[in-house]
Symmetry: C2
Subunit: 124 residues, 2 copies
DNA sequence: CACTAATATTAGCGTACTCTAATATAGGGG
DNA sequence: CCCCTATATTAGAGTACGCTAATATTAGTG
């Protein structure tokens, strides 16, 4: 895609420059990157983050109908939120009669722990 | 608007119901919740997450100009990304001449560690 | 077998997000 | 002093997001 369009005389950086502006790399594959972002984007939303916190507090998991009043959004929105958290690997679920019980995965648990342990209180 | 138009005898849930649909609560204040979401939403984006990973790999921090080619977005976008990560408490920064060097905070470091340690590989 | 409750799915609307391009600020160097 | 590099800021455009409302599906219950 035609990088370096101009001719050779354009001095983008003199040879005597400091160590700045070299190459930078990280060790993640595209799949790992995508998985991480899916996870983070899933919790980076008020409704979903609160849902995750509520489920983490419940002993044996929680069903959608428990969360609906606390979250203050419609039933459809709760269902969408839980599905997305599940797809992101943050919730496990089991069917029991006409209810579906959600519980947090180890990944979610550790994520919440880190947030609790590193939260800055003069932050605002 | 006109919820429950019918009379009061409507049995919304029989008395013998299981423990479902009670109250749910979590122990976070509004400020803590907002801070967490600001943090999570900041990393839940490809450009910013990759920037954070790149900076975490660099030994003594990285400046914006190092990241720009790797991130593949404009200079303005890089600056916006770094500012937002900084505001979210995930980056520290120091001025050095005409450069500004960014490094990850403990909060960011631990967040990345958890993602590495709990990432599922059959996830797709 | 209706009836009801819990959940899932879909369309559509309003908003927030993220980029580019342009411009402004700040700090060296010839 | 002018120029060049690194960074910050802003407006605007295109897109993605998150909700509601409506409807479909699934599973108990009288």
């Amino acid at each position: 895609m035609a990088e370096q369009i101009s001719d050779g005389d354009a001095p983008r950086s003199s040879p005597g420059r400091p160590s700045c502006c070299g190459e930078a790399e990280h060790p993640l594959t595209d799949r790992e990157l995508a998985a991480d972002i899916r996870t983070l984007a899933a919790v980076g939303n008020e409704t979903r983050y609160e849902a995750l916190r509520l489920i983490a507090e419940a002993e044996d998991g929680a069903c959608g109908c428990e969360l609906e009043p606390a979250l203050g959004v419609s039933q459809g929105a709760v269902s969408q939120a839980l599905s997305r958290l599940y797809a992101a690997g943050l919730l496990a679920r089991r069917k029991d009669g006409r209810w579906r019980y959600y519980s947090v995965t180890p990944r979610a648990e550790r994520l919440l722990d880190v947030l609790d342990e590193t939260r800055s209180h003069d932050d605002d």
